[in-house]
């Protein structure tokens, strides 16, 4: 039997395996709801096969998997499922780029990237699991990456 604790949608996008508690941050990064009129449903702390997770469903809208890689920073295990006529027709695992630019602030208050300079924040991904990123400018590693999301 299909694992379907969520109400089925006919067409749209399901973001699955979001780090529990991070669904709202994921939506924030995707600029939802500002950028969409679609019906969006959020499930938090759902029991999945591999422990707790959050799920987001966006109806009648197919998000571009490339754009979705941005959420890898806060939900590195997320999968993107494109739903057409109730079926999953495309599945994409988010992938973290080597460098993360302009997505999360440096947690070091005296880092030059937090000053009034014409640069975006910039981090190198030094480890994927557990996720570790290092500021290109001050060389420090933020502990709570999600907290810095711009």
């Amino acid at each position: 039997m299909k694992e379907l604790k969520v109400t089925p949608i006919k067409d749209g996008t399901v973001i699955d395996h979001i780090t529990p508690g991070h669904a709202l941050k994921v939506l924030h990064v995707l600029k939802v709801p500002e950028s969409t009129f679609s019906v969006v449903s959020i499930l938090m702390n759902v029991n999945g096969k591999k422990g707790k997770k959050d799920i987001v469903k966006i109806e009648n809208r197919e998000l571009d998997p490339k754009e979705l890689d941005k959420i890898a920073l806060i939900a590195p295990k997320a999968t993107i499922n494109i739903i057409r006529d109730y079926e999953v027709v495309k599945k994409h695992k988010v992938e973290l780029p080597k460098e993360v630019i302009g997505l999360t602030k440096c947690s070091n208050p005296t880092c030059i990237s937090n000053a009034r300079e014409p640069v975006e924040s910039r981090f190198q991904v030094i480890n994927r699991d557990p996720l570790r990123i290092r500021c290109y400018y001050c060389e420090r590693e933020p502990e709570d990456i999600a907290a810095g999301i711009i």
Binding site: I112, E117, P118, C138, E139
Partner: protein, 312 residues
């Protein structure tokens, strides 16, 4: 491997391989007679170094300026940002664009971490980091390595004790990294509240070095070949009493050095306040003034390599 330093930025010691560091240190040895004005050169004749000090410094600025003059070049810049357009709110990026068009290389000291890295993005000419807040100070690290190398003939295998404020001390983090790269043995001595950060210890371990952390200086000193003392700032302590207790227990004096090896060298990035008793100055252990001098040949080597491109 051919070494090419021409036009390279000097931002962080981590940007350099072990071989590159060795090359710089060897070249610095060659610079010593020029630094002492026993030999003369006009290698950087007609070249201009800009020294932008957004935060005060004595040794770093003077030795960079002296290095440039000794190489036949000239220097422009400021020693303190008051009176510059920075006070009017100009961005660092704009200040750098301006200095870039007036010079062939730029030394920057700035109170914020990452400032030198940012400067390099806006500059065509090479940037030399003279210290960015609590961040990097690569030329200090190189002169520290140079001092150990010239005093001990090698870096590998020495028992190096890093003493003092290991939590906030800017020089000790990159030094611990670099010493691990060269496979020195490390002991970290600090008060409980000023211990070496976990990330730095992990970096050492990545090079196969297992640093020992302790608060007991008397024990650590016995096997040491190098004692690197740093300043403990009063501001780090909740009250004067606690500060005095800690500073008292980490004071380097002749009584302590009696328990050390004959050929132990004592280093300090200076300025020292009370960490090293002045009675130590006249002993063979004291190399901190020589260490300060070593800033000159090391900075001369860097300037020649990135600006000259050819050797003298």
């Amino acid at each position: 491997m051919p070494m090419n330093f021409k036009h390279r930025d000097i931002i962080s010691i981590k940007d350099f391989s072990k071989e590159e560091i060795e090359y710089i240190l060897e070249y610095a040895k060659h610079m010593v007679p020029y630094a002492k004005a026993e030999k003369h050169t006009t290698l950087l004749n007609q070249q201009i170094l800009a020294t932008l000090f957004f935060e005060p410094s004595t040794r770093t600025r003077l030795s960079f300026e002296s290095a440039m003059h000794r190489l036949g070049g000239s220097v422009i810049g400021f020693a303190d940002p008051s009176g510059t357009s920075l006070k009017k709110g100009e961005s660092l990026a704009d200040t750098i664009r301006m200095a870039d068009s007036y010079s062939d290389a730029i030394v920057i000291r700035h109170p914020q971490e990452g400032a030198a890295r940012l400067a390099a993005e806006f500059s065509e000419v090479p940037i030399l980091n003279g210290g960015d807040g609590a961040g990097q100070h690569p030329t200090q690290c190189l002169l520290d390595l140079f001092t150990i190398l010239t005093e001990k003939k090698k870096i590998k295998g020495n028992n190096v004790v890093l003493l003092g404020d290991l939590k906030y001390g800017r020089t000790v983090h990159s030094l611990a990294y670099a010493l691990s790269l060269f496979k020195a043995n490390l002991t970290f001595v600090s008060p409980e509240t000023l211990k070496m950060p976990k990330e730095v210890i992990n970096e050492c371990k990545e090079f196969g070095v297992e640093p020992v952390s302790t608060s007991n200086l008397e024990k650590a000193i016995k096997e040491a070949d190098v004692l690197y003392a740093t300043r403990i700032q009063k501001e780090r302590f909740p009250d004067a009493e606690e500060y005095n207790r800690v500073v008292g227990s980490y004071k380097v004096d002749n009584a302590l050095l009696q328990q050390a090896k004959q050929d132990l060298i004592v280093m300090h990035p200076l300025p020292r306040i009370v960490e090293i008793h002045s009675e130590v100055d006249s002993t063979a252990h004291a190399v901190y003034f020589k260490q300060a001098f070593n800033g000159l040949p090391v900075r001369m080597a860097l300037l020649s390599l990135i600006l000259g491109g050819k050797k003298i």
